[in-house]
Symmetry: C2
Subunit: 154 residues, 2 copies
DNA sequence: TATTGTTATACTCTATAACTATA
DNA sequence: TATAGTTATAGAGTATAACAATA
């Protein structure tokens, strides 16, 4: 039983698709969230922040993290504080602009993230295991167009 | 800028699709949430609860709401309390099992919901306006299979 | 014993707004 | 003035666990 139970015959296909998307993302996200907590003692938001840093050897300004994670700045401060306390990231000043603090993975944080990322990737792959590869690509393309229109309307 | 910024060439298509699904649902959900609050002074969770009740003239047991909304029972009690305070729903005993309380829209709640549902449906249709109808159906079908596998693995 | 719903509690995530420091 | 980040706060949403009433 899920969100779609409320639908009736008059509802447009757009609403059917929307509720189905929500159900799918909620089911998958809940599982990922629970496993991150059980196996690594970390929340999804903190994991996501570390994921953004993986490819940035010199770290990222907090304003960049705010944009990428689509949350307001105050939240980045809080998440960063927690990760600093755990020793997983550090704040580093940026030469040339003393307002900016770059958040940067520590060697410890990088090791931790590697291990989590392997598991996380496997969970995601497993979740989509029954979606044929061609459909995977097709979904990705169609949702790409949807994303663009959403971001324009912000 | 969004969640996908963290991807690199080694990442599998499943992860690419997953992050794109998350971005899309978050963008749409944030907009719906903001509009429900601004235009109707209601939260998404309360709206969703009322939506589940629309087709149930005799109401639904709180346990059914818990399953459909995929949240634990305590939350249903809280949401119901708030909607009762607003006069939008009532609790009704169920003949034959005195443990069960059915949550039921009041005439006022039903009127309120009708108005909100019209607006909500228009927002969703608008969000998917640039997705061709054939792709709408295709997405719905593919995600149906995904949903089934997720619910089996719970 | 199992199920329904309530209560109490705590945590995560988020936004907003006022603030400081720097550009 | 504008931008980067911090702080304080509040509200939404959620889960857990102990509990009472009923089956």
């Amino acid at each position: 039983m899920d969100l779609e139970a409320r639908l009736h015959s008059e509802h447009p296909n757009e609403l059917r698709l929307w509720l189905r998307m929500l159900t799918c993302t909620q089911l998958i996200e809940q599982r990922i969230r629970a496993r991150l907590r059980e196996q690594f003692g970390i929340t999804l938001a903190r994991f996501d922040l570390m994921a953004q840093l993986e490819r940035a050897p010199d770290g990222l300004p907090m304003s960049a993290l705010s944009k990428r994670m689509m949350v307001t700045g105050g939240n980045i401060t809080g998440l960063t504080d927690e990760l600093v306390k755990e020793g997983s990231v550090v704040r580093r000043p940026l030469a040339g602009d003393r307002r900016v603090h770059c958040v940067c993975l520590t060697p410890k944080g990088r090791r931790e993230f590697k291990a989590m990322a392997v598991a996380h990737e496997a969970w995601v792959v497993e979740s989509f295991a029954h979606v044929p590869s061609a459909q995977l690509t097709n979904l990705h393309r169609v949702l790409g167009a949807l994303k663009t229109t959403q971001q324009e309307n912000r």
